[in-house]
Amino acid sequence: MRRIINLILEFKNLFFYLLLLFFTILFSYNNSNYNKSKIDELGLSIAGIIYKPLFFFNSYINLKNNNSNLIKENKRLQSLVYNQKLKNEYNYEETFLKFEIRNASVIKNSFNKTRNLLIINKGEINGIKKDMSVISSNGIVGIINQTSKNFSSVISILSRDIKINAKLKDSNIFGTLEWLDFDFYSINLSDISVSNKINIGDTIITGGMSYYFPENIIIGTIKSYKKSKSDGFYEIKVNLISNMSDISNVYVLENKNRDEIIDLENLSN
């Protein structure tokens, strides 16, 4: 004990310096967005290196589970393809070729905070960029927030900072998804006017009104709803189909028209 105290006394300047340095970096992090993104990037690459061995171990343990999930998804996709042939093939290509798909594995997943993040094992060298959207076989997962050379972090849909355009299946009633309850099985849907008729059990899918997610990706089903007293909108709770605590393989979607849409938006503003 005495030795430790002597050590601290001997290097007291250095320790005090490190303390002040910590405060300064905190100050810098909160005051400049550029510094924040740089510091985040450093943190992301360190976290990626730490969690990678853990990920290999876990992926081996979950191999059986993953296989069964993949088989299930394959089945679903095959049925989609066989059914699609009956429809107009030209239409099919038009809607799906806008998005380029890359696969990735989740190496760190959080779902019990107010702003949840996932880390995936693909980064800038794999062509991942900020603001791309991430889905899993069971539905939407989130949006790429930060990229480093080999890893990327994803803002989960279970985050207060994210809002997603959604609609009711087989209709054109659009609303906004937000996560307000901090319950990782459900999410809130707002901005749907009370003049529309909705039922418990109706399916909610992505609306395709933003450049993040393509249309018609399943999100969940309506769990409960009530009419708001103050304004003419429903307050709807949606059961998420994808279990956010159990995600191992995801797909990153790149919207090829994104730059064009943003340019157009900037021009019109």
Partner: protein, 167 residues
């Protein structure tokens, strides 16, 4: 003790005031703003407490950062220069136990200039490194730190020789 610290505090306030009101608005050739608050790290007595120097440098740095929107660059440069100051003193002045201030008459003018140069240049280099926060901009960092150091050294050396005869 209290008198000493209050004098230090008044010096700090004066330097911060001068820096923010006058020297941050010089914009010579559009990018040169001498950092005259480095005078504090030069004139601080060699035999005084190192911890209070660190604390004072943190105070100066964070105040100037706060009012000139530089997100921590001044603070990091200041506390780092305070930490490595004993090494710089040994390196530039040699055996220093007989001196307790840079204003001591027995210090040669060359050594004094070298000491000021080291403190100012290292400070400015650190400052611009954290200001740009990107090593791709190395050319700009070097250009800015060299030119700013040059003008800061001229002003500080002028200050010191001006008041030297009195002290």
């Amino acid at each position: 003790m209290i008198k000493e610290y209050s004098i230090i505090f008044i010096k700090i306030l004066l330097l911060i005031f001068l820096q923010l009101i006058v020297f941050n608005n010089i914009n010579l050739f559009e990018f040169i703003n001498p950092s005259i608050y480095i005078l504090f790290f030069i004139l601080y007595r060699f035999d005084q407490n190192q911890i209070s120097l660190l604390m004072a440098s943190f105070l100066i740095g964070i105040t100037i950062d706060f009012f000139s929107n530089t997100a921590g660059a001044n603070t990091i440069a200041s506390i780092t220069i305070s930490l490595i100051r004993p090494t710089i003193i040994k390196f530039s002045l040699g055996e220093v136990y007989e001196f307790n201030s840079i204003l001591n008459k027995n210090i040669k003018q060359v050594n004094r200039l070298f000491f000021i140069f080291l403190i100012v240049f290292i400070h400015q280099l650190l400052f611009f490194m954290f200001e740009y926060f990107n090593f791709m901009m190395l050319i700009s960092i070097l250009k800015n730190s060299i030119l700013n150091s040059f003008f800061t050294i001229i002003i500080l050396f002028g200050f010191i020789t001006l008041f030297d005869s009195k002290l």
